[in-house]
């Protein structure tokens, strides 16, 4: 997760080293230590009340047999707390269809984990929003992927847009911190500004933009993904918009998720806008961030207990929490793939191998590289960096 507003506008600048890689609703980390344990996405159920075409989890209308029970979920949360996991993102499917969600959120909070939620927002009634806030929920990220017509087409249900906007308003009304999650594709890129404008008007000030991940039903969508020029253009628009709003005095937070070529782009953007010193400072911050987090700073546990290197990497599981503890799975040094992914910069091939930004990007998404047939350490097809940017003679920052 890359905070455009922090990097370009010093918004919430704090010098801390913990950087979450999922949207946890905070740019003010809970500690000044580097993030040692992964943020865990728990896909609590496969069930969803919507039918989004790009759903990375491939959710369905019914839960799966064998989903982790309330008791098992609590033991999992104990296990994660003992291991020092700082944040659990309750996700799905749609996590709000689980009637024990508030109970699990409260349990996580009591165990010392920051509980956050990823939801389609359509079930966020005032009662549930208040209940979640009481339970200790720290943040709700609500997905909207276009203006009404397009969003409802994506989500497969009429009225989903209106319900999500009302869900956001409800969160704001009950004082539950909330933000937008917007997955940018070739189909909805033109709606982006309209959605941000509309939600700004209802009082939202946090906007999180996701690049499309090629997993779940999203696997079939690579053909509608943005091309390099379009991606570059939309990231530029997001940077421009963030700067404009801060210059006007609006403290909005904007974040980019799921493509660490953004890190390289933002350094280049800063160099053009502010000059070499600022670009260098931003590079140093991004060095602390550490690049694509798969298998390191982000983990996922699916509804059946399988542990994945990220929430999007559904086709490979490192182990299952019903067999052994999360910590044992995550710390298993005998897994050659996990070791290699954690040593990525030395294993990258193709254009990433000699990219000057590989330390702050780490080659982007291994999952997209695999999906595109480039091999485990090949280039991420979503990289949009231009050749002269990639091949600069020297790293622009502390590495020299």
């Amino acid at each position: 997760m890359i905070s455009v507003s922090t990097l370009l506008c010093d918004h919430g600048a704090d010098g801390n080293r913990l950087r979450y890689d999922i949207d946890t609703g905070t740019e003010t980390p809970v500690t000044d230590r580097a993030q040692r344990r992964p943020v865990v996405v728990w896909n609590t159920t496969n069930r969803c009340n919507l039918k989004c075409v790009h759903c990375y989890a491939g959710a369905e209308s019914e839960p799966k047999d064998g989903e982790l029970t309330t008791a098992e979920g609590k033991r999992l949360l104990d296990d994660l707390a003992d291991y020092g996991v700082p944040v659990v993102l309750f996700s799905g499917g749609e996590p709000m269809v689980r009637e024990d969600l508030e109970e699990l959120v409260a349990y996580a909070a009591d165990a010392g984990i920051r509980p956050v939620l990823s939801t389609n927002g359509t079930l966020l009634t005032a009662d549930r929003a208040r209940g979640l806030k009481r339970a200790g929920l720290a943040y709700a990220g609500v997905s909207v992927d276009g203006l009404a017509e397009l969003n409802d087409e994506f989500r497969g249900v009429d009225g989903a847009f209106q319900a999500a906007v009302e869900g956001i308003e409800t969160c704001l009304d009950v004082g539950l911190k909330t933000g937008l999650r917007y997955t940018v594709t070739g189909q909805n890129v033109d709606d982006l500004d309209g959605v941000v404008d509309l939600l700004t008007d209802v009082g939202l000030d946090r906007f999180c933009f996701y690049h499309l991940s090629y997993s779940g039903r999203g696997e079939d969508l690579s053909s509608v993904d943005l091309d390099a020029a379009e991606r570059r253009d939309v990231v530029k628009r997001i940077c421009d918009r963030t700067l404009r709003s801060h210059r006007r005095g609006d403290e909005i937070e904007t974040l980019l998720v799921g493509n660490y070529a953004d890190a390289a782009y933002i350094v280049e953007y800063a160099r053009r806008e502010f000059g070499e010193d600022t670009a260098r400072r931003i590079y140093e911050r991004l060095e602390q961030n550490g690049g694509d987090p798969a298998g390191e700073r982000v983990a996922a546990v699916d509804c059946l207990g399988n542990v994945h290197p990220t929430q999007f990497w559904r086709t490979y599981s490192l182990g299952n929490v019903r067999d052994r503890s999360f910590a044992d799975v995550w710390e298993d040094d005998s897994n050659p793939l996990l070791q290699a992914v954690r040593n990525r910069p030395e294993n990258l091939t193709g254009r990433c191998a000699d990219c000057r930004y590989k330390e702050i990007c780490r080659g982007g998404s291994r999952l997209r590289a695999l999906a595109d047939g480039n091999g485990l350490f090949g280039p991420d097809p979503q990289c949009y960096l231009e050749e002269d940017e990639r091949r600069g003679a020297l790293p622009p920052a502390s590495a020299d």
């Binding site: 809970v30 500690t31 230590r33 496969n46 989890a57 491939g58 799966k64 047999d65 064998g66 982790l68 029970t69 008791a71 098992e72 609590k74 033991r75 999992l76 104990d78 296990d79 003992d82 020092g84 700082p86 409260a106 349990y107 909070a109 009591d110 165990a111 010392g112 984990i113 920051r114 009481r134 339970a135 200790g136 720290a138 779940g216 699916d302 509804c303 059946l304 207990g305 399988n306 559904r314 086709t315 490979y316 599981s317 490192l318 182990g319 299952n320 929490v321 019903r322 067999d323 052994r324 503890s325 005998s334 897994n335 050659p336 793939l337 290699a340 695999l370 091999g375 485990l376 350490f377």
Partner: protein, 100 residues
């Protein structure tokens, strides 16, 4: 000792979609086979293809086995690992504590 508390885990498939296949690899002929997780695919051929994309750089031998066909006996039980956490009495105190 552990033997007496070991129990059998579910034998159902573990994939929310498709089927799950356990993956075992060996990098050299004199190494033991090593379990390296599982892959999700529609069938064994798809599972092998995926497993080899993930592990071909490392392994000479790649074996796969349908996850639901593995009989697992373990002393680990998720539901047994509870450490009790005190519940707040009135639900009013702040629940988030600093992680350190």
């Amino acid at each position: 000792m552990a033997e007496s508390t070991r129990r059998r885990l579910d034998s159902d498939d573990r994939a929310p979609h498709g089927s799950e296949f356990e993956v075992f690899v060996r990098s050299d002929g004199d190494d033991p086979m090593r379990h390296v997780g599982s892959v999700r695919a529609d069938d064994a051929d798809g599972a092998y293809e995926l497993a080899s994309r993930l592990f071909a750089w490392h392994a000479n031998d790649v074996w796969i086995c349908p996850s639901g066909d593995v009989a697992r006996y373990t002393t680990h039980e998720l539901a047994d690992e509870a450490s009790t956490v005190d519940r707040p009495v009135d639900g009013e105190e702040p629940r988030n504590r600093e992680w350190s």
